[in-house]
Amino acid sequence: MKKRILAIALCAAMTLGLAACGGDSASTAESSAASAGTASGSSDDSTVVIAMGSGFSTLDPGYVYEKYPPLIVNACYDNLFRFTSNDGEPEPNLVDTYEWSDDNLTLTCTLKDGLKFASGNPLTSADVAFSINRCKNLQGNPSFICETIDSIETPDDKTVIFHLNTVDSAFLSKLTYSSLAVLDSEVVKENGGTDAEDAATADTAQDYLNTASAGSGPYVMTSYTPDEEVVLEKNENYWGEASNVDKFIIEIQPDSNTQMMTLSSGDIDVAMNMTDDTMAELTDDNVVKINEPTKTVGFVMMNMDESVGGPVSNPDVQQAIRLALNYSEIQTICGEGSVTPYSLIQVGFMGSKGERSTDYTDIDKAKDLLAQAGYPDGFDIDLTVCDLDMEGIALTDLAQVVKENLAEIGINCNIVSDPWAAGYGDDYRDGKLGFTVMYWGTDYNDPNVQLEFLPGKTVGLRAGWTAEMDDQGLDDLYDQAMAATDNDQRSEILGQIQDAMYENGPFIFFAQAPSHIAYSSRIDGVAVSDPYALDVRSITIK
C-alpha cells in the first residue's frame, strides 16, 4: 500500500512540476497579451515580429536571388529605384532626376542630396558603380541582371551614367533588384570586397555581409542566425523618413501550422506562409487575412520537336489540351487568390491583359481538335514532373489535375516523377522533356521576364520552339518590346504578344500561385510583394 501511495505521489509531483512550468507561461502569455492588446509577438510595442519560410543561403546583395532575402535587403539597403506597390512601376529612390539619351542606350541619374550610409559614410556615385560592378563580376546567380550594362561612368559624386550595350526597356525595373542594392563600398572593401573583374575569386566579403548589413536603408541588420532569425533595428543615420517600427524580428518558421498558432497566440505579428487550411483556422477578429495572386505562374509545356514531344508537338493537340484543362479546378488546388492569366504576362504586370475566362474550357471542341489531329481515340503519354513546389503547391498535385482533365478527352497521362537536382533540371534546360508541368518565378519585377517564353528565347527553346518556327512575327515583337521605353507603347506591344500566344504555342499558363498572409490588426501596411516578398518599409504600428 505504501508503495502505491509513493508511486501516486511521484506521479502527482511530476504533474505538479509540469503545471508549475506551464503556470508561469500562462501568466507570461496573459501579461504579453495585455500589454500588446491583441495578437502581438513583440517584446515591446515598437517591435514587429514576422514569421517567414526557410530555404535561403545568403544575405549578401551581390549573390541574392532567392525569395526571402529581398525582404531584408530592401530594409537595410537602398536601390536607385524601387517599387512602392506590387503592380506599380519603378519609382526613383536614391535618384533625384534621371534622363534617357535619344537612342535609349545611355541613362544619366543624379543622386539626391544628403544621402549617407548607416556607417555615416556619404553615399556617392562611386558606391553605386562599385555595387553594380561587384554584382556583375561576382558571376553569381543574379549577375545576369547586369548583362545589358556596358559600362558605368561617374563624372562626379552625384552623377551615375549607365552605358548600355542594347536598348533595355526593363532597365529601371532591373535597377530595383535586390542584387543591385547600393553597398557602402568603404566598409565592404575593408571586409574583403572588390568590384574588379576577378571578383568571382577575389571577393571575400560574403561572410561579412551574411552577418551584417552595409547599406543606407531604414534598418540595419544587427544579428542573423541561419535557419533561426534575423534582427533588424532602426538605422539612426537614415536619410529618409522611417516608419514607427523600431525593430523587426524575422523568425524563420517553415511550418504553416506553427505560423498559424504563433500568430493566434500573439507571439508573431505577421505570418507569411499560410495555406488555405491554416487561414481557415484563424477566426480571431484581431487578425487580418490577405489572399492575393503572386507573379509565380504554373504552366504546361509541350515540346514542339516531334521526336521529343510526340503527339503534343502538334498545334491542334496543344490547343485541344488548352481547351480541356479545367482552370477553376486548378485554381481551387492552388488556393484562394489564385488566378489564370490571359496569356504569358501575369495579372499585376504592366501591360497584362488580365485573366483568362474560367469558362474557356470546351471538352467537345477539344475532342474535335484531337480527331482533326489524327487522334480520335486519344493517346497515351508520359507527363514528367519534378519534386519542386510552386509557392507551397506541389507540382505533382498540379500534374494530377492535368492528368484527370486530359482523361476526359482520351489522353491518358502516365505521371513520371523525376527529382529536379537529379535529372529533371538538366533535361528541362536541354529541351529533352516532351510533356511537363512546371512553374516560373519572376527574376525581376518586369513583364519582360516573360518574353523568355517566346520562340528562340531561353524558355521557348526548352520547349523546342526555335526562332525558325515563329510564324506570328513574335521575334519582331520581342525586339520592339525590348526597345520600347515608353510605357504605353510597351503595353501595346505586350498586348499583341499575349494575343498571339493566347491560343498558340507550346505553353499553357494555367494559374498564378496565391500568397496567403495573415497579420495582427495592430499593424498596417502589410501587402503581397513580388519584388521584396514583404515590403517592411511600408509596415507601421497603428
Partner: protein, 339 residues
Amino acid sequence: MERLKFILKRLGYLVVMLFGVATLVFILTKMIPGDPTVANLSQRALNDPEVVAAFRAKYGLDKPVLVQYFYYIGNLLHFDLGTSIRTNNSVLSELNRCFPATFELALFAIIVAAVLGILFGIISATHRNSAGDQIVRAISVTGVSIPSFWFALIVLYFFYYKLHIMPGPGRLSNTFAEPAHVTGLFVLDSLLEGNPAKAWDAFRHLILPGFVLAAFTMGLITRTTRSNLLDVMSTDYIRTAKAKGLSRRRLIRKHALGNALIPVLTVIGLGLGNLLGGMVLVETIFNWPGVGQFAYESVLSNDYPAIIGVALLIALNYMIINTIVDILYGIIDPRVRLQ
C-alpha cells in the same frame, strides 16, 4: 589502468572508423544522382557557362573526383570539413552553431525518457497484469508507434495554442536576447550569464519538444525495463533472496534492478545517438535550429561537404556514446571486463 587502455584503444578505432565513414559518405554522395550546380544555381544562371564555371571552380567541383577526395581527406586531417555550398560558411562553424541546440534538446529528452521509462518499466513489472501495468504498456506502445510530427503538432496545439500553459516554438522567447555563446546550451549559458529568468525561459522551451522526442525512446525503455526485470525476477538468486525474507523493495532496488538495467543502458545509448542526429520534422514544427534542419537543407541543396560533415558528426556521436555505455557496463556489473 585497464579502463584507460580501453579508452585509448577505442580512440584509435574512432579515427579509423571516421576515416571509413568519410570515405563511404564521400563515395555515396558522388554516386547518387544530383548535381550541386543544378541545385544551387538559378534557372537563369545555369544558362550562363561563365557563372556555372565560376561556381564549379569555387567549390572544387571542376576537379576529378579522385582529386576532390584527396583534397577532402587532406583538409579533414587539419580538422577542416570544407565550406558549405549552401551557406558559404565553414561546415565546422555551421555544426558548431546547430549542434548545441540539438544536444541540449537531446539531453533533456533522453533524461525524460530514461527517468520515465525506467519508472514505468518498474511499475509495470512489479504490478504485472494489473490495471497499472496495462496503462503503462498502452503508454509505451503509443510512445513507440505515434508519428513524432503528429504528436508535435498535437502537443503544440493543446499546450501552447489552446491552453496557453507552454511557450511556443523556438529556443527562447522574444523578450530575451540570446545568451552569450559559451557552451551553446541556452539554459547553461543563461545561468553563466547570471540570468536565471532567461535560463528558466530556455528550460520551458525545452519541455514540449523534449517530451515529444522522448516519447519513442521512453516507450522502448519502458518495454525493455519491464521484460528484463520480469526475467531477472524469475531467476534462482532472486527466489533465494525472497526466501531469505528480503523486502520486495530492497529485492528490486538492491538485487534485481542492477542486472535488469544493463540492456536498458544500451537502449538509452542508442536513443541518445538517434536524438543527436537531429529530428527534422520535430525541429521544423518547433522551429528548433538543430542538426536535423541543417542536414535537411543540405540534402536539398546537394551540399556535399555539409552532408559529409553531418554524417561524421553522427558517427562520432554513436562511437562516443558506445564507448561510454561500455564503460558504464563495467561500473554497473563488475563481472563485465573491458577488452
